[in-house]
Each structure stands twice: as C-alpha cells, then as structure tokens.
Symmetry: C2
Subunit: 200 residues, 2 copies
Amino acid sequence: MTSEATREAPVQKPLRADAQRNREKLVEVAAQAFAADGVDASLEDIAKRAGVGIGTLYRHFPTREHLVEVVYRREVEGLCHAAEELAREHPADVALELWMQRFVDYIATKRGLATSLRLLLTTNSTLFSDTSGRVSGAMRSLIEAAAAAGKIRADVDASDVMHALGGIYSAPNTPDWRERSGRLVKLLMDGLRFGARGSR
Amino acid sequence: MTSEATREAPVQKPLRADAQRNREKLVEVAAQAFAADGVDASLEDIAKRAGVGIGTLYRHFPTREHLVEVVYRREVEGLCHAAEELAREHPADVALELWMQRFVDYIATKRGLATSLRLLLTTNSTLFSDTSGRVSGAMRSLIEAAAAAGKIRADVDASDVMHALGGIYSAPNTPDWRERSGRLVKLLMDGLRFGARGSR
DNA sequence: TAAATAAACGGAGGCACCTCCGCTTTAGTG
DNA sequence: CACTAAAGCGGAGGTGCCTCCGTTTATTTA
C-alpha cells in the first residue's frame, strides 16, 4: 500500500521557500486591505504593501475571486481556532462572550464582501457548506462547555443562539452597527447567564 | 380624476429626441456585441460603434449590469413578439418549430452571459420571474394553437415541451452545440406531429 | 425667428487590471 | 563550493473602466 503515499505527491508539490513566504504575506495584507477598503481594494496596492510585484500576486491568485476565497477561508479558520484558544484560557461563559464579540467582527467583514461573496457562494457551493458548518460547530462546543460548567442556562442550544445572532447579520448597515451588535451580544449573554445553575 | 394623468408624469419624463435615438442605438449595438464577444465586450467599443462618446453610454447605463439587463429584456421581448408573428404567418406546427429554433438562439446568448446573469438574477429577482413567465407564456400559446389545429398531438402541454428543451440548456458547451440543438428541436417536432389528428 | 435654458454630448485623463517575458533566486548535484 | 536547471519574481505596457466638465444641441418662450 505504498502507492497511497506516492499517489498523494502530485496533489500539491511544496512551494519554494520564497514563494511560500510571499504567498503568506500576500494573504495577510489582502485580509487587512479587504477589511479596510472592501473587496474592491486595489490589487496593485496589496502587492506593493506585501513587498512583491503585481506579477507575483497574479501567479499565486489568478483572479480576484481566488484571493477573496483564500482570505475568507482563513478568516473562518481563525474564528474556529479562536474558539479553542478562548475556551482554554477563560471560564466557559467568558470564552463564549468573547467569541461572540469576535464573531461580530467576522460578520462585519463578511458584509463588506457581500456582493462578491454572493457570486462566489453560488459558483463554488462547497465553500458555503464547508464554512458554515465549521463556524456553527465551534459555537456549539463553546455553548455546550458553558452549559456543562453551569455558567449558562442549560435549556438552550447552539441553533437557538445562532438564530438570535441572525439579527446581527440582517440588521441595517448603519454607522453604529458595531456598537449595536456589541450590545446585542451582551444582552444575549445576560439572558444566557440568568437561570444558570451557578447563579442561583 | 385628472390627478391620475398628472401623477403619471413624474414617473418618467420623456427623453429628448437625440437622447432617445442614442439610447436605442446603444442597446442595438450592445446586443450584437454581447452576442459576438460575450458580456465582456468592451464598452468603449460599443460606444464607438454606436457613434457616441463613452460618456453618453455611461449616462444612459451607469453600470455594465444595467446595460446587460436592458439587452436581456429586449431579447425576451423579441422572442415573445416573434411567437405572435410566426403564429400569424405560418401554419401552427411550422410556427412552433421555427419559434423553437429561435429559442435555441436565445439560449445560446443566455449561456454566453451566464456568469454575469447569475449575479444579476440573484440581485434582481424580479428579472427572473418576469422573463421566464413571459417566455413560457409565449410557448404555451403556440402549442395550444398547434394542438387545437390538429397539427400536433393533443396529449402534451407546454411544460412537457419546456422540460424536453431543458436538455438544450444543460448540454455541455461543445462546438457543435448549435447543430445538436437544432436536431433536438427537429426530433421533438417529429414526436409532436406523430399521432396528431391531421396526420392520421 | 431669435434668445434663453435645460438637457445631452463626448473625450481627455487618471486609475486599475492583467499579461508577458527577461532577470533573479533557490534547491539540488557532482 | 561551483554549477545548473527550474521555479519564481517583477514591473513595463497595452487595454478597459469610469468620471468630470467644457461644449453642443433640442426645446421652449417671447
């Protein structure tokens, strides 16, 4: 069964060290740029700020959509990773609250990308199922941990909370959107804490 | 109730004669260009070939999507109009066959615009319901007329035929797509004529 | 018909996209 | 270490997008 190993080789040969570095730097910078200026951020600018030529950017990401997709996947990755980290370093209820605040940031980015993402999500349907599954999974484990620790009430589940957060996504795009969302998260946490075993 | 008339005025004030001319010419030329080169046809080229400046094009159609939408609607309009005309000038079964051939052309265009249309159709949902309703309506009346005249069998309806034509849209985009589709239409017509009152 | 005015025109200019290919760097090899 | 092939780099240049505003033209009014 050594063929298994050999069969995996052609899947993706490792990049040269410099190429790897440049690629990472590009994604890094692109993430910032998209967050700051929306998906229409200038690619030439991104290349320049990453310290590479525009040609290099295009070799790694043949279209703007490729780059957007990679950035988006990285964002989701980060969000899920943060869930684990926060769970390790904070009491379960605090971890949940902090994570939900971060979730707000993530949504903010996602709204910025809206038009472009819509096309991406209809074109590349695995993207949607992949990412939404991972995010709700991360949330579920935070909630279950907090409930198990008696820090929040036990009669809600992840889908209830996701539903409650739905309001954030669909809320109108006013300038105070960020603060409103922050308050919504706090409110939600108070509701979750009330009636927890530990608070009686 | 004269207010009715006055209330309609602000809806859309009439364009100046030259503006009207230019607008029509632009749509005309754009239709050709999109058919020939796909949605990515150069707008500057379209303006030039229509004999106007690029500024004029942008005043009439602030984005590429606007222009695409207008062209697309016009196409649908033309298709429906052709149905009436063919019905007037040919025996019912011939009219149906000719119309289906024209339908193939329409689909060909639509496929060319696919990516761009997909975005348009998700963004502007009335567009889809509007146009697909009108097209299937046109087809329905041709079929009913042919059936009533005994030129085709009476045990099929428009949705059956639409379903059969579905294969055209989803067929792979090979170079001989056009001929294949033409043959499919002929085949379908033979099937429809077989067993008609008039053929027994 | 002439003057006045609002509507429409058009294209120069600035910016971003993306391709192409000669040059540079890396990672093996003797 | 020196050499080499392959991988990667980068930016000039050609093209299209779209805005802005001085000029032209249709229409209205007198």
